[in-house]
C-alpha cells in the first residue's frame, strides 16, 4: 500500500483522537476559566505546558539515586523516558520467554505440572505491587527490582495463557505433524508454538499497561530514576505542573509502546488478519 493511501486510511482515526483529547482538554480549560479548577492543584493544559524548559529542569540524564538535576532539557527527558522504557522492555521480554517456557513444561511434562501448577496458581493473583518489598530485599535499590516487577506482572499471565493455549491447539494440526513424521520437538516448535503465539502476544499486550503502571511504582520507590521517580518528586514538592506534564508524557509513551507492539505483531505474526493487512492485499 502506498504511503499516501496509508495516511488517508489513518486520517479519520487520528482526527477522532484529536477531537477526543481536545474535548477533554477544553472542559478542563473551561473549568479553570470559570474558577472551578484551582491552577495550583489542577493546572489546565495551557499552564502545565507553558513553561516546558522550566519543567524539564527536573529531568536528569544520570541514572542514579539522589543525584542533583543537571539542568534538564530534551536530552534529559529522552534519557528518563529511555530508562523507564528499557526496564519495561527487559521485563516484558524475560517474562514472555520464561513464561512460555514454564507454560510449555507444565503443559507437556506431568512432574512439572504437579510441582509448578499449584505454586503458579497460588502466586498469580498476588498483586505485583506486593512483590515490591521482596524485589528490594532481593535486589536492593536500582534497575533490577523494577525489571523484576515488570517480569512478575507478565510472567504468571503468560504461563497460564500458555497452558490454556497449548490445550486448545487444533488436534488435527498435531495429527498432520505426526503423519508427516515430526518428532515431538518438531511438533512443538513447528506447530504448537506458531499456533499459540498470537494469543500469547495478545496476553502480552493486555498486560503491557499493567506493566507500565508497575514500573512507575517501582521507580518511585525502589530505583531513584525514571518517570516514576519524577512523579514521586513532583508529589513530594507539591509541583502540580510537573505532575501533569509527566502524566502526559507517561500516557503518550504508553500509547506509543502499544503501537510498537502492534507493529511487531504485524511483522512477526503476519498471518493474523488485521484490518490493514486486508487492505494491503
Amino acid at each position: 500500500m502506498s504511503l499516501n493511501r496509508r495516511v488517508a486510511a489513518a486520517a479519520p482515526a487520528f482526527l477522532w483522537g484529536v477531537v477526543s483529547v481536545g474535548i477533554f482538554a477544553g472542559l478542563w480549560e473551561l473549568a479553570w476559566a470559570l474558577g472551578y479548577a484551582n491552577p495550583l492543584l489542577l493546572p489546565p493544559p495551557h499552564i502545565f505546558l507553558s513553561d516546558i524548559p522550566g519543567t524539564l529542569r527536573y529531568f536528569d540524564t544520570t541514572n542514579t539515586v539522589g543525584s542533583n538535576a543537571t539542568g534538564g532539557g530534551l536530552v534529559a527527558l529522552a534519557t528518563t523516558i529511555g530508562w523507564t522504557t528499557l526496564r519495561v522492555v527487559l521485563g516484558l521480554a524475560i517474562g514472555f520467554v520464561l513464561g512460555v517456557g514454564s507454560g510449555a513444561l507444565i503443559g507437556y511434562f506431568a512432574p512439572f505440572r504437579n510441582l509448578m501448577l499449584p505454586l503458579v496458581t497460588l502466586l498469580a493473583p498476588v498483586s505485583p505491587v506486593a512483590w515490591l518489598p521482596v524485589a528490594i530485599f532481593l535486589f536492593g535499590i536500582g534497575d533490577v527490582p523494577a525489571i523484576f516487577l515488570v517480569f512478575i506482572t507478565v510472567y504468571f499471565a503468560i504461563v497460564l495463557s500458555t497452558i490454556a493455549q497449548i490445550e486448545s491447539v487444533p488436534v488435527n494440526y498435531l495429527h498432520v505433524a505426526r503423519i508427516m513424521g515430526a518428532t515431538r520437538w518438531q511438533s512443538f516448535y513447528r506447530v504448537v508454538l506458531p499456533s499459540v503465539l498470537p494469543a500469547l502476544f495478545m496476553t502480552l499486550r493486555l498486560n503491557l499497561f499493567a506493566a507500565w503502571m508497575v514500573v512507575l511504582i517501582a521507580e518511585a520507590i525502589g530505583v531513584g530514576s525514571g518517570l516514576g521517580q519524577i512523579v514521586s518528586v513532583a508529589r513530594s514538592t507539591f509541583n502540580a505542573k510537573l505532575v501533569f506534564f509527566t502524566m502526559g508524557i507517561i500516557g503518550v509513551a504508553g500509547f506509543l509502546f502499544d503501537y510498537a507492539l502492534r507493529q511487531v505483531q504485524r511483522k512477526v505474526l503476519w498471518w493474523i488478519s488485521t484490518n490493514s493487512s486486508k487492505a494491503a492485499l
Binding site: P170, N172, Y173, H175, V176, R178, I179, M180, G181
Partner: protein, 264 residues
C-alpha cells in the same frame, strides 16, 4: 501381490473412566485393499469408520485384531499412509507452498528442492499461482486441494480421506471428486475414503464397504461395475443407488436412535 492394507478382526473400544460408559466403536472388521485400489467406506455417522482410518494411519491403536500395511504391522504414523481431514488443517502461518512441503521441511530438504516440489505439485492441481498466498486467501475447495497436495508431496502409497468434501457446496464437491480421480490415477496410490454420501461412493469407488451403525461392522461389500466417468442417468447407477439406500436405511435409523438415547 501383498495388499496395501490388510485388516484382520479389528475391534476398537473407546475406554472411559468407568467401564460402564465404554463405547464399542468397531467390531470384527476384516478386509484388504490392493495397491492402486479405490475403496470407499460408507455408513451412518458415528459408526466408527473414521476411527478405522485413524488406526490405519497409526494415530490410534486397535483394541483387537491386526492391521498390516504392505505386510508390516502398523505401529506409528508414517507419511506413506497419509490421512486428510474434513477441515483442510492447513497451517495459517505458512504460505500455501510451505504448507505443501511441510513434510519435506521436517526432513530438512533444501529450500530449492522444496520450492521445486511445491511448484510442480501446485501446477498439477491447478494452483500454480497460489504458492505464495496465505491459506485464508483460498476458497474451501482450493484449501482441500492443497491438503491433498501436502499429502502427495510425501509420495504416499496409501491416501486416506475422512469425509474430505463434506464441508463443500454441491458444485465444488463434484469438481473435487473429478480432481481426486485424476490425482488417484496419476499417483497410483491406494485410496480409502470415508463418506456418508451414496452419490460420492458410487462416483468414486472401485469397491464400497457398507458399515452398520455402532458398533461398526462391515455389513456388505459392493464392487462398482461402472466405467468412469459415471453418470447418475445410467440405469445401473440408479440400481446401485437404490441398493445402497436400502442397505443404509436401517442403519441410519439405528444410528439416529442411538444418538437420541445418548442425548437423554
Amino acid at each position: 501381490m501383498t495388499p496395501a492394507i490388510s485388516c484382520t478382526r479389528v475391534g476398537k473400544i473407546w475406554r472411559s473412566a468407568d467401564s460402564a460408559n465404554d463405547v464399542e466403536a468397531l467390531r470384527n472388521i476384516s478386509f484388504t485393499v490392493m495397491p492402486g485400489e479405490f475403496v470407499v467406506l460408507l455408513g451412518p455417522s458415528g459408526c466408527g469408520k473414521s476411527s478405522l482410518l485413524y488406526m490405519i494411519a497409526g494415530l490410534e491403536q486397535p483394541t483387537e485384531g491386526t492391521l498390516l500395511a504392505h505386510g508390516r504391522p502398523v505401529a506409528s504414523p508414517d507419511a506413506d499412509r497419509s490421512l486428510i481431514f474434513q477441515d483442510a488443517s492447513l497451517f495459517p502461518w505458512l504460505t500455501v507452498g510451505e504448507n505443501v512441503t511441510f513434510g519435506l521441511s521436517l526432513r530438512r530438504e533444501s529450500k530449492a528442492k522444496r520450492r521445486e516440489v511445491a511448484d510442480e505439485i501446485l501446477r498439477k492441481i491447478g494452483l500454480a499461482d497460489a504458492a505464495d498466498k496465505r491459506p485464508d486467501q483460498l476458497s474451501g475447495g482450493m484449501r482441500q486441494r492443497v491438503a491433498v497436495a501436502r499429502a502427495l508431496a510425501m509420495r504416499p502409497s496409501i491416501l486416506m480421506m475422512d469425509e474430505p468434501f463434506a464441508a463443500l457446496d454441491v458444485q465444488t464437491r463434484a469438481k473435487m471428486q473429478d480432481f481426486l480421480l485424476t490425482v488417484w490415477k496419476d499417483s497410483g496410490a491406494s485410496v480409502m475414503l470415508v463418506t456418508h454420501s451414496i452419490d460420492e461412493a458410487i462416483a468414486l469407488a472401485d469397491r464400497v464397504l457398507v458399515f452398520t451403525a455402532r458398533p461398526g461392522k462391515i455389513k456388505t461389500e459392493v464392487p462398482i461395475d461402472l466405467e468412469r466417468p459415471r453418470s447418475p442417468r445410467d440405469p445401473r447407477y440408479r440400481e446401485l443407488h437404490d441398493l445402497f439406500a436400502d442397505l443404509l436405511a436401517d442403519e441410519v435409523d439405528r444410528a439416529f436412535e442411538q444418538q437420541e438415547a445418548a442425548a437423554e
